[in-house]
Symmetry: C2
Subunit: 178 residues, 2 copies
Amino acid sequence: MPIEYSRPQGYNEARYGLSSRPEFRRPERSFTIRQLCVEFSVTPRALRFYEDKGLLFPARDGMNRVYSVRDRARLQLILRGKRVGFSLSEIREILDLYDETDGGAAQASRSLKKFRERIEALRQQRDDIDGAIQNLEEGCLRLERQLKESRPDLLPKAEAYDSVLRARLDGSTDTLVK
Amino acid sequence: MPIEYSRPQGYNEARYGLSSRPEFRRPERSFTIRQLCVEFSVTPRALRFYEDKGLLFPARDGMNRVYSVRDRARLQLILRGKRVGFSLSEIREILDLYDETDGGAAQASRSLKKFRERIEALRQQRDDIDGAIQNLEEGCLRLERQLKESRPDLLPKAEAYDSVLRARLDGSTDTLVK
DNA sequence: TATACCCCTTACGTAAACGTCAACGCAAGC
DNA sequence: GCTTGCGTTGACGTTTACGTAAGGGGTATA
């Protein structure tokens, strides 16, 4: 068992939980490390690690980290960056490019070029994924043919489509534009 | 300097190079480790590593590895699998699923399910990529606006489109269907 | 006051995917 | 017969992205 994320007995919602009182919600709500961890299913260690590597810099309340809405958005980008295969240092570089709005025109020009490169790489990666999907679908077809001949009863029905749909619809609307 | 891939002086094309004589081309041509390494820009170490991990099993000529056309196709799948974020053990699992056509109907049914799961995961990953591309494009727009105001001369022209096209058109037509 | 949560830092451990020697063998060309 | 280029098998090193343990502290509830 890695880490306890569910609320144990005696859990103090008012202190640790996501407050439901509107005055603590927006526009400038902040998060404890644990809240973000629960929300994004990562460990505190990971967040501290990202901070170590310069991808996050939450404020402090005494010793404790205090994450802003913007930190949260950064974290979302970090995690998505990871999912699409960027290394942390690459992600850091990208985040830095977003940040330094004031590096001068030359800097902005270089940033633009790097962004374009990233985009092109991602497009190719998407083609890779499409190719992989095609391969796997061919494999499925083969298996289905095979099963249809030997044991048609084992052919699974089409998946419940709404679960698929739901997974697609939670499109994140995060942005770092100030 | 990592490793020398270009042909040095004294390079013996007849012995080491890709033969252009048709009788050695198809349908059952074979490859040395180096030929595959050059073709796919990987190191011999990597290929041996994949073999170690059970993803490849080339034939032998004495001590030397001899890769068949089918091994080459597997390698293509391995590399693409890596590009889309699969671990080697995941790739191995998938390749195994392709292989065991004779595991019985129950096995085939399980394989089918796993394939479907992989496909769904890839679809979500593609959505991630699309999201990342959108973010980066927004970043581009911001930078372009910024540059247009300060230094329009630094705005790079649209990239030469044919290089992009060429990169897209070398779609691999590999398959593992026997 | 105990314990049950939360937080912190420091530091060593780990899995994956190779890189990088070292040390050897075999064939070809000078 | 030496060098060049290819191949082989260990075996240890490296990077990334954390996991995990050790040790310490703050705050609320029983």
